[in-house]
Subunit: 339 residues, 2 copies
């Protein structure tokens, strides 16, 4: 399936198709110098498949995890390109999850003020979430994605066959973001999670989630307004993610973070969907730590937090609230262990 | 004088006006957190004038010179903003020359994927050249401007009164870039340099050069094609600048670098103009070193160098040539000292 993403006269195509990786050379222009950026947690054969399709490939393998979204690693990638004599006509390809595409995309966005970038996401989370929208970034001072650029890829290649090597917990985490899209935008899509086995129709779920995100990003590329709806579950979710210190995956935190923002009616339908996917619905954390981490997050400003709520499945409401207003909501998803 | 720069529905205004700095608060939205970036070579009173117009100003003074266009200094500015709690709604103002606007503009372009940026250039060079066009960058591995972004300022404020504190040599260097615009685009403008004293009409010269550059940038913001003409004098000029190791100013190198790219007819008129401005017309350098530095420059690719020539005053011709073809031309502007 080919999903076009359009911005005026510009745009790119997201291909979602089993076996797409085998024809990456026809989906991306690789007859030039190519820096392939992957991490040491991604099965090497995916980057090798891209490597084999390039005229002049160079491979950069960064350590797995958020720690690679740093100035030090960015500078290393840019220096690699400089030393290899990369020109404006050469390109960067990311192969892996969101860490790698955020980092490699930012390197492509800034090398010579921007060279071509292709993303080959290999996790459900990055396929559903990071692959569309052109957000690239690194972290600084413990704050995620605080330095970056909006930068469009030239193409995105999603091959669901790569999910065969993905641990079930990571698949579930990625589906958490797809559920988020369904709750806020698409009631019919939500029923897909309620009926039948989501894993048996994961290709269609990815394509649908990408299409929904595309519809948002086309209307608000730079997150001025509408795009904020994509933060549903993320305000408290980011607080949980920071406070958990790596013990919980991103999509798991979004799953938990959605629940306090739902009406009772929405929550009653969302809870069984999350449980069925094996996603957590509460966290064993100190609510004060979650609240403090949420306040530290870049989206909270002096004037309040743009919080996203869902009162009905398939709809959302954005409201600027004082951060304290979210304090009590955090409590509702904290699991108290007996002392 | 107000010079509008338009890109579709977006754009900004360049104000060229004596006393503009005194009303910077009406030309820029400063009722928020503002990071003012200047360098220790710029008279402090210019940054202080901006400071006084802000609701919540923070001042960052970087060391004068290209050395500040580094990852280390960029990271420090971004960390400053993060620690001060800058949000997407806050902004950055540069006060000084091209080094400061390139650096501060790139910090603004990348903080939270882009916050508002204003430029207050205080040198002729940055007023004529760096203030329009949205090129921001830092250096890496000894290569200038290799990492950066195209990022539009929200407004540019040029107050020619600030030139009163500028050394004559720097004024002449900046005028070298204005002469470049005249040679390639505007024969009538060129006669302004031939007749009368350019220094007595410097406000008008700056405004005319900005307008000419605006016309180019509006048609080719991302340097796909036409904008390359602005590199007239820069291909060999950059080689001279690197080889001179700081002994020559940028506009001086452009002045020298234009000469080998001119027809005899153009050169015959250009030479006296440059001499009158006190600009050099040859360099005491090893031509091999100039050639090697030119090859290292980012604009030379495997396929050749997009070289800009002028056969008639007020016109240009872009031609892709093998770098070796420029080797002999370099010789023509090398001054051989008797051994």
């Amino acid at each position: 399936m080919e999903i076009p993403v359009r911005f005026g006269n510009d745009g790119y195509t997201v291909t979602v198709e089993r076996g797409a990786l085998r024809r990456v050379g026809t989906l991306c222009r690789l007859d030039r110098k190519v820096l392939i950026v992957t991490d040491d947690g991604v099965p090497a054969r995916y980057a090798e498949a891209v490597f084999a399709a390039c005229r002049e490939p160079y491979l950069a393998v960064v350590p797995q995890g958020e720690g690679s979204k740093s100035f030090a690693v960015l500078e290393r990638l840019l220096t690699d390109m400089l030393e290899r004599g990369f020109s404006r006509k050469d390109c960067v390809v990311s192969v892996g999850g969101g860490v790698v595409s955020d980092l490699a995309g930012f390197a492509a966005a800034t090398y010579m003020r921007g060279i071509d970038f292709y993303a080959v996401p290999t996790t459900v989370l990055s396929e559903v979430d990071a692959s569309v929208g052109g957000k690239t970034a690194i972290n600084l001072g413990g704050v995620k994605n605080i330095v970056g650029a909006f930068y469009r890829p030239k193409a995105v290649v999603i091959d669901p066959e790569t999910l065969a090597t993905l641990p079930p917990r990571q698949i579930a985490s990625g589906l958490g973001e797809a559920v988020k899209m369904a709750v806020t935008f698409d009631a019919a899509f939500f029923t897909e999670f309620e009926n039948g086995d989501p894993l048996s129709k994961i290709d269609a779920i990815i394509a649908r989630a990408v299409t929904l995100k595309r519809d948002v990003v086309e209307r608000d590329e730079k997150e001025q307004d509408l795009r904020r709806v994509l933060n549903f579950g993320h305000t408290i979710g980011h607080g949980i993610e920071s406070a958990a210190g790596g013990a919980l995956h991103h999509g798991e935190c979004v799953a938990i973070g959605m629940l306090p923002m739902c009406s009772d009616k929405v929550r009653a339908r969302l809870l069984p969907v999350l449980k069925r996917l094996g996603l957590p619905t509460a966290a064993d954390l100190d609510p004060e730590a979650v609240y403090a981490a949420m306040l530290h997050d870049k989206k909270s400003t002096e004037n309040g937090v743009a919080a996203v709520f869902s009162d009905e499945i398939g709809s959302y409401r954005i409201e600027t609230v004082r951060p304290e207003a979210l304090r009590a909501r955090i409590e509702t998803v904290i699991r108290r262990n007996p002392a």
